[in-house]
């Protein structure tokens, strides 16, 4: 049976009121829930969200520091920062990247070889970031870009500070260069300091003094929107953003004399080799030239792959620093020091003379040691032996001294170990000894020291290998009659803001004190005779000098050509010629400059190397400056 219900107005109204009351409670509860949620977010968790919000809106933009400027000893700028144009590309504005890159290549704004590298570089960055794709554009490229700008969406021309070396290749091996930070660099560098800096010192002073030159980077917070682009700051809100000013790096004042460096490099033009000039009174390096040289600006502006390969594959090895890393037999240039050792150990007196018949035999041996002068020098004393560079005299002296005493004095004067010059990459060369032979060779028969090996050390041959820098510092010891300084390239730091100069004191090494200090003069006199005596080997190059030069020529034999070196047939003969050496200081009685010259495959020291030293002395001493 169906129960019939009729509408009960009173009941319905009561139900409605009841339900409304429940609903009102629910509404109130939910409103409190919402307010409570807001309280949780805005009061209890406010700090947390405030932090997140700050991180959201502010992006840190780097303010890279200005790299320290490098001056030569006379205050001429040899490494500076100049505004340069660079091309930057923003991927998201460029449309199709490959098309844009192809256009850039078509207009000659990037090279074919670099296309892939640039493409990878751009793709590795965020789409709204401006990626530098070509540094240091010259006027012609800037003009070319201006013409084609409208065809290159997303590509802009920006002005940035870039390293510039006004003297180009001159002094490049001392200065070194900066280059783009590589993957290897990234692992060793402090990322915070390099924030916003694209280059790092790679070689030479630029690398060794990186820490001083770099300075410290600053930053500023910029307001960004959600897409990561910076937006204009409304006025009055700037104080909400943090910033730190960058600190420019320290300027360097070098010991290098860029004019003298130029003289040296011009005199060496066309040769391979090395020239070092040192102020013996403090170790200041005035000239450090390795030829051929290269233009460091190429590296600073981002060297192209093709240009880099051209430098590394050049058989003349322009990137090889011969002054620091080239090791050569010192040849006859060490004869004065050998003579000094004979006097110091009292195995010979200056007036003792021998008869030179052009050859020397060890007692009980039939092996013949030849003099460079086939017919011999006749009767020679120490003075003559140095002046004429008599080999027989020094074979005999070396044998009398013995290897231990030779090794002792030569080590004290700096052979066999790096000189400690203030730029890196230096080699120590080899000062051989029985001890050294034991560690250098593995076969037992090779580890034995033969008396004949001592004999040829007397004329700077055999295993002996020295860098041009070692020859110069050893010669400086002779010039100062025993004073010894570590060679240096930087003599002062300059604060870029206050201009305060922080001079560095010379770095003396233990002086060499002879039992009889008069012996210095015996040796120096003989070296003066080399350039002025009747039979001196460097007389021709020294003729007409307004000052007295003390010098010594040398010739280092080239035994073989390194297997890794590639020469064509016509060059082989030239590459087998002896290296020409010359060490000298002037004025002989009060030396102001010590020079070591090495000309690879130059033949004789007297004809190839001595004239180069002469032109540097002339240029330097004619000034009358110290």
């Amino acid at each position: 049976m169906r129960r019939v219900r009729i509408k009960d107005e009173y009941l319905e109204q009561r139900i409605f009121l009841q339900r409304s009351a429940v609903a009102a409670f629910i509404v109130l509860g939910v409103m409190l829930l919402l307010a409570g949620r807001a309280f949780w977010l805005q009061v209890l968790r406010h700090d947390h969200y405030a932090e997140l919000s700050q991180g959201n809106r502010a992006r840190i933009e780097p303010l890279p520091p200005n790299r320290g400027i490098i001056y030569d000893r006379a205050g001429r700028v040899i490494a500076e920062n100049t505004p340069a144009y660079q091309l930057e590309l923003v991927r998201e504005q460029a449309g199709d990247l490959d098309t844009t890159l192809a256009e850039l290549e078509r207009f000659g704004l990037i090279e074919v070889d670099d296309l892939e590298r640039v493409r990878q570089l751009v793709l590795s960055r965020r789409s709204f970031e401006a990626v530098p794709i070509r540094l240091q554009l010259d006027d012609e490229l800037v003009a070319r870009f201006a013409v084609h700008r409208h065809e290159l969406p997303g590509v802009t021309l920006e002005t940035r500070m870039a390293r510039h070396y006004p003297f180009g290749a001159i002094g490049a091996h001392a200065l070194g260069y900066v280059g783009t930070i590589s993957e290897d660099d990234v692992t060793r560098l402090d990322k915070e300091r390099y924030f916003g800096t694209g280059v790092v010192g790679k070689t030479g002073i630029e690398r060794a003094y990186e820490d001083d030159l770099l300075g410290s980077s600053g930053y500023r917070e910029v307001l960004v929107n959600a897409a990561g682009r910076s937006v204009e700051l409304a006025e009055g809100k700037a104080d909400q953003l943090r910033s730190r000013q960058p600190q420019a790096g320290r300027d360097l004042r070098l010991t290098l004399d860029i004019d003298l460096q130029r003289v040296a490099e011009e005199a060496m033009a066309g040769h391979r080799g090395a020239v070092v000039a040192i102020d013996p009174s403090n170790g200041d390096v005035l000239v450090l030239a390795s030829l051929p040289s290269f233009d460091p600006n190429g590296f600073a502006r981002g060297i192209s792959r093709r240009d880099y390969l051209a430098l590394t594959e050049d058989p003349d090895q322009p990137l090889f620093n011969r002054v620091l890393r080239g090791t050569y037999p010192p040849g006859s240039t060490i004869k004065p020091i050998m003579a000094l050792a004979g006097l110091e150990y009292e195995v010979i007196r200056p007036q003792d003379s021998i008869y030179c018949a052009g050859q020397y035999y060890l007692p009980g041996s039939r092996h013949k040691y030849r003099d460079w002068k086939h017919e011999g020098h006749g009767t020679v004393d120490m003075h003559d032996a140095i002046m004429e560079s008599c080999d027989v005299y020094f074979y005999r002296l070396a044998n009398t001294l013995g290897i231990d005493r030779i090794h002792d004095i030569m080590t004290r004067i700096g052979f066999g170990a790096p000189t400690g010059i203030d730029i890196g990459g230096e080699r120590g060369g080899i000062m051989p000894s029985p001890q050294w032979k034991k560690t250098a060779f593995s076969g037992h028969s090779q580890q034995v020291w033969f008396p004949g090996e001592t004999v040829i050390l007397g004329i700077g041959q055999g295993y002996w290998a020295a860098t041009p820098l070692q020859l110069a510092t050893a010669t400086a010891v002779l010039a100062t009659r025993g004073k010894h300084f570590r060679p240096r390239l930087v003599r002062a730091f300059v604060d870029p803001v206050t201009g305060a100069v922080d001079e560095r004191a010379p770095w003396p090494l233990p002086a060499i004190v002879l039992k009889d200090q008069a012996n210095w003069e015996v040796i120096v006199d003989a070296m003066v005779a080399v350039t002025s005596g009747a039979r001196g080997t460097a007389v021709r190059a020294s003729r007409g000098a307004a000052y007295s030069i003390a010098g010594k020529t040398g010739t280092a034999q080239v035994y073989s050509i390194g297997q890794t070196e590639k020469y064509d047939a016509s060059q082989v003969a030239e590459r087998l010629r002896d290296h020409a050496l010359f060490v000298a200081f002037a004025p002989a009685d009060a030396p102001k400059l010590v020079i070591a010259v090495l000309v690879e495959n130059g033949g004789h020291g007297s004809s190839a190397a001595a004239p180069i030293a002469r032109s540097i002395f002339d240029a330097y001493l004619a000034r009358g400056t110290g």
Partner: protein, 377 residues
């Protein structure tokens, strides 16, 4: 003397206003509440719109239209509204079917119907047509409703809701369902049925889950762990909470919200404008807004209790409470209590259609309320 004169003039003015209100079938209290919240909303929208002042002026114009519609509908007698209920419902259903067949696609959803002069969303009509239909149906039957009546009403609700959810427009579907269900609940739906409904709904969760669109599922998953997809679907929630939380008690100041002004906050002038208030006006701003909403809901509910018959009571009660559901769903979403569902913040979010529907609803509420008073006078 003078003071007396002045005071009496004030009284006269008040009375004149009251008379005008009555003549226009308007409720002064509700109107004031709507106006205050609306002005507050325009004030916030000006900041949220940023440089886009055209957007702001267009919203002002929409408020004008909205109030006009409200006043117009308030003039419609209650019996006419009742008569129109089934017609509106059927018309809405037909339009929804038309949308499914020939609607315009916007933002990946088929919601719009272009009838030459204007484009509009038929689902908006249903926000009012469904509670009207439910109230109309229950009005003719004894309350509390029998099981059969409840099933019939649920069917009336479910058909349009499914059509809208299929567009897909989950937010509107939810609000339409809420509007209809509120009518049934206010009508006296037995608590046991409600409990049973909850159990059935719980059982249907897997089924509903399988019917949801991927983006809808993602929104629910994102609510549970926003950080799981911080740059995707979770981005909205994370950024809105950062905005609100960083506002603190007093806010960063009007137009100074960095989250909103720098576009970290998505949909800042529409669905997420609640976060702009939280960021720029702080906890105080949010509480002021919620208090405003409370006033409107409370006044609306009071008005519904004064109505003379079941139809007017149920419909007006549903309109008042649905407005509250709007607020809760939006604020809950923006503060991270509920999943991201596209529901605008009533009276504040930018957007024309929903505002006009809302004001039409309040117009109806006023009409129903005034019919009761007219009876009494």
């Amino acid at each position: 003397m003078y003071e007396e004169f002045s005071a009496s003039r004030t009284r006269r003015t008040v009375t004149a206003t009251a008379r005008l209100m009555r003549a226009l079938h308007l409720d002064g209290m509700l109107l004031s509440g709507l106006a205050v919240v609306g002005i507050f909303g325009l004030f916030v929208l000006y900041s949220a719109a940023g440089d886009n002042t055209a957007l702001w002026f267009s919203q002002v114009a929409r408020f004008g239209i909205g109030f006009a519609v409200m006043i117009a509908i308030a003039q419609v007698p209650d019996h006419f509204i009742r008569m129109a209920s089934p017609i509106a419902y059927v018309l809405g259903l037909v339009l929804l079917l038309l949308v499914a067949v020939a609607g315009d696609v916007g933002k990946g959803a088929q919601r719009w119907l272009d009838i030459g002069i204007i484009r509009f969303q038929p689902s908006e009509i249903m926000k009012l047509a469904v509670p009207m239909m439910c109230a109309w149906y229950l009005h003719q039957r004894p309350l509390p409703p029998s099981l059969w009546n409840v099933v019939a009403v649920l069917a009336m609700i479910l058909v349009p809701v499914l059509l809208i959810a299929e567009e897909p427009d989950l937010g509107t579907a939810l609000l339409v369902a809420a509007a209809g269900l509120l009518v049934v609940v206010l009508g006296g739906l037995p608590w046991t049925y409600m409990l049973g409904g909850v159990v059935i709904a719980g059982a249907a969760v897997p089924l509903v889950w399988s019917m949801l669109h991927d983006y809808q599922r993602q929104r629910i998953l994102t609510l549970l762990d926003p950080q799981s997809d911080a740059l995707g679907a979770g981005y909205h929630i994370i950024q809105s909470q950062i905005a609100i939380g960083s506002g603190g008690v007093f806010g960063k100041g009007w137009t100074n919200g960095s989250q909103a002004q720098l576009e970290f906050l998505p949909e800042r002038s529409t669905d997420f404008i609640f976060a702009v208030i939280g960021e720029e006006l702080g906890l105080l701003g949010l509480i002021a807004l919620l208090a405003g909403y409370m006033f409107i809901v409370g006044r609306g509910m009071y008005m519904s209790t004064q109505c003379r018959d079941a139809f007017t009571r149920l419909l007006s009660g549903s309109i008042a409470l649905t407005f509250f559901v709007y607020v809760f769903v939006n604020a809950g979403m923006v503060t991270g209590l509920l999943p991201v569902v596209g529901v605008p913040l009533p009276l504040v979010s930018y957007g024309g259609t929903s505002l006009v529907t809302l004001m039409a609803g309040f117009g109806m509420l006023m009409s129903l309320y005034s019919s009761r008073k007219l009876l009494g006078s």
